[in-house]
Symmetry: C2
Subunit: 428 residues, 2 copies
């Protein structure tokens, strides 16, 4: 329906009507359940941060081109956070002596990037972040991958639908060394690998040769990127897969030498989960090990591993596959109707009694024709409706109607809560 | 402890370490429980809005002096939302034909105001908002006040500690009319009343006289402000208190002719809850009825009633009174220790088995001396620790230690989850 509203939302921002909010809450709940199953504590950083915080280690593009940066009223430049990891490093560095390590934290909150709004991208988005700090081992990396797999499984995605692909930056550095790629050029070559799926094979060859690779380097690189047994040469990856087996999630994880992760700060294990159901692989979440982040914001060196998942792509995937729970408009399954003006307060008292008994109760707020109130109950997904008409009021009773079965009974007022609870249980 | 971190947080922003996060979540949970008990749906608006949205009806001070306003990369001015009600009006106006009325929505999220940081104020804060739209009656107003009372009671505040004071703008307008205060001057006089508690009686008298009141007007105004029976003259307030009684919350609510609510958009019932325990009354939440908000953003006229509660003041009050639940660092009550390198994967497998049985389990991530792992368990508030040493491994058993009682038993591996569940139940 066309709206005559003249004031519009800001482009790329998110409007959470109750149905969209239910999806956001579903993701928050499932992410939190996976995190809590592994004993992670929930935390959050400020939404506004200084631009200096991001200067050290985020990708340059992220801050210079994509972050919302502005001056506050005192003239100081501030940034709407485009990612969480730098805030994590700052907050841990500030209390490094007081916190108990190993430290396990998770968070789910809003972020902002000035990207072109499109399907799967928005300028405001929510992101799940989860990190383990103070342990530097592939076994710790495996825990994070297991949490990602636990989440993926919990939302109904099978290993055929979604898989976590793993690589190791140290392994790739050694491979790059063997190819004669200098440390300064590692990031550039990683970037080339990241772009490969988006280009035709020939175009990619030409692009890499034009950007500094020799033909023998390109040939050798393609051999590396096609070698799915390479992980056996890397002790960290061998230990990682052993641990993933102990943690019961191996079926969700595969080695892939093409996983690079563009961000500068990853130093060991890197991983990325993809939806495999479409013609294009869509990234669901990604992360890895970072060893230098705290030192960069003034803390003592501390190793960490973590990942992040945006809410938009996973929401689209679950919606496409019909994996989301049905949306029930009203959080209250009971509607207390108001028969007429004389019985209005009688109904409100009943609503109060039912709430005191622990039920969630929607109360029709005014006397209206009963069919109108029942129609509203239908629209809100209500399961039980109560009616107090003159007869019920005179006898101290209440009519309780089960909307699913269409049956109704008239019971003593003291029995209403119990009668409703029984209907709700039987249908659950 | 002094930190050597060189990068600081932005002044007035909020850092939620796990303990602060637990408080924020406690308020979110209690607010949500009160809202859901009355059948309200959760929703959220964008965090960035156009400045035009606030131009119509927010207090001028709020947008012009207190909002964070900046130009995005395309040069368009945007605002970090300083309050929610204008977004509510915009989003409802945009789908007015599709939504089911009466509409009941609640939200809990971040807001920004450029205020001087001080105790009880921050530039980033969280706010609970809750509104009922599509019904214009004192009975609907009473529902919102009942939700506020339900929340206040649920966090352990008695009527002696916190009371909701109610007034009615139409009643006050009539009183102002009788005093010869013109409609154009109503807002100015309301502002004077709002300032009264912060000034000495003499200073306030002088201030009102200097700002346009005559001495007879001042005398009459003081009589009005001291008349706590005035509500009996107002049909809306009589109906409001009758409904509050039916809803079982009358003990939390009092009439107070001094409640004005500065915002322009209130048109009927207004209310504000105060903490009464200190020398200064602190406002916990406030709201009222607004009749014109949707029309202002381009929608069809629609009446609403709602209130908002910031997280900072209520958090301070509950902390002062010791009403907050004890903070338990780990969301997982179980720690699986790692005896040595050989038994590492054995322990990780056990952690996986316990999680599969529905337990939340923290796993010590590496072999370390057991006393160090037990010390960590203490710091994290862990209640049950498991140990698999060489003896247990050889016999296929696990030692389960109850940290509260100090007792331990060694059980078959298949019985571990059941043994732990029993300990957790008995202590709960």
């Amino acid at each position: 329906m066309a709206s005559k509203s003249t004031i519009q939302a800001v482009k790329g921002t998110r409007e959470f009507y109750p149905e969209e909010m239910a999806l956001r809450n579903y993701l928050y709940e499932k992410a939190g359940a996976a995190a809590k199953a592994f004993g992670y504590q929930e935390w959050d950083a400020p939404f506004l941060e200084t631009i200096d915080l991001y200067a050290a280690k985020s990708g340059e593009e992220l801050v210079k081109e994509q972050a919302f940066v502005f001056n506050d009223r005192s003239g100081d430049p501030v940034t709407l956070r485009p990612e969480l990891t730098p805030s994590l490093a700052r907050m841990i560095a500030a209390r490094q002596g007081q916190l108990a390590f190993p430290l396990r934290w998770w968070s789910f909150g809003p972020f902002w990037r000035y990207e072109r709004p499109q399907k799967g991208r928005s300028r405001e988005f929510f992101q799940w972040n989860i990190d383990l700090l103070g342990v530097s081992s592939p076994e710790a990396d495996a825990e994070l991958i297991a949490i990602a797999a636990t989440f993926i499984k919990s939302v109904g995605l099978t290993p055929e639908m979604a898989t976590i692909f793993v690589n190791n930056r140290r392994l790739m550095d050694a491979q790059f060394d063997a190819l004669g790629i200098t440390p300064e050029n590692r990031l550039a070559v990683s970037g080339m690998v990241d772009r490969r799926p988006k280009m035709s094979p020939d175009a990619w060859d030409t692009y890499t040769l034009e950007n500094g690779l020799t033909q023998p380097q390109l040939d050798a690189l393609k051999k590396v990127l096609g070698n799915y047994d390479l992980w056996q040469e890397n002790d960290e990856l061998v230990r990682l897969f052993t641990t993933l087996e102990a943690l019961g999630v191996k079926e969700y994880v595969k080695f892939d030498p093409n996983i690079m992760r563009g961000l500068l700060y990853y130093t060991g294990t890197v991983f990325e989960a993809f939806d495999l159901s479409g013609s294009v692989r869509r990234a669901i979440l990604g992360g890895g090990r970072y060893d230098n982040l705290l030192a960069d914001v003034g803390g003592d060196p501390l190793s960490g591993v973590g990942f992040a998942m945006g809410d938009v792509v996973i929401g689209i995937i679950l919606q496409e596959k019909g994996l989301l729970p049905a949306f029930v408009p009203s959080p209250a399954p009971v509607l207390v109707t108001v028969f007429d003006e004389n019985l209005w307060m009688n109904s409100f008292s009943l609503a109060n009694e039912l709430r005191a008994a622990g039920l969630k109760v929607l109360s029709y707020p005014e006397p209206a024709k009963l069919p109108k109130q029942f129609k509203f109950a239908d629209r809100m997904g209500i399961r039980v409706v109560t009616v107090i008409g003159p007869d019920e009021a005179a006898s101290g009773q209440v009519t309780v109607k089960n909307l699913a079965s269409g049956t109704q009974e008239t019971v003593e007022r003291t029995q209403v809560a119990k009668t409703i609870a029984k209907i709700l249980e039987s249908a659950a």
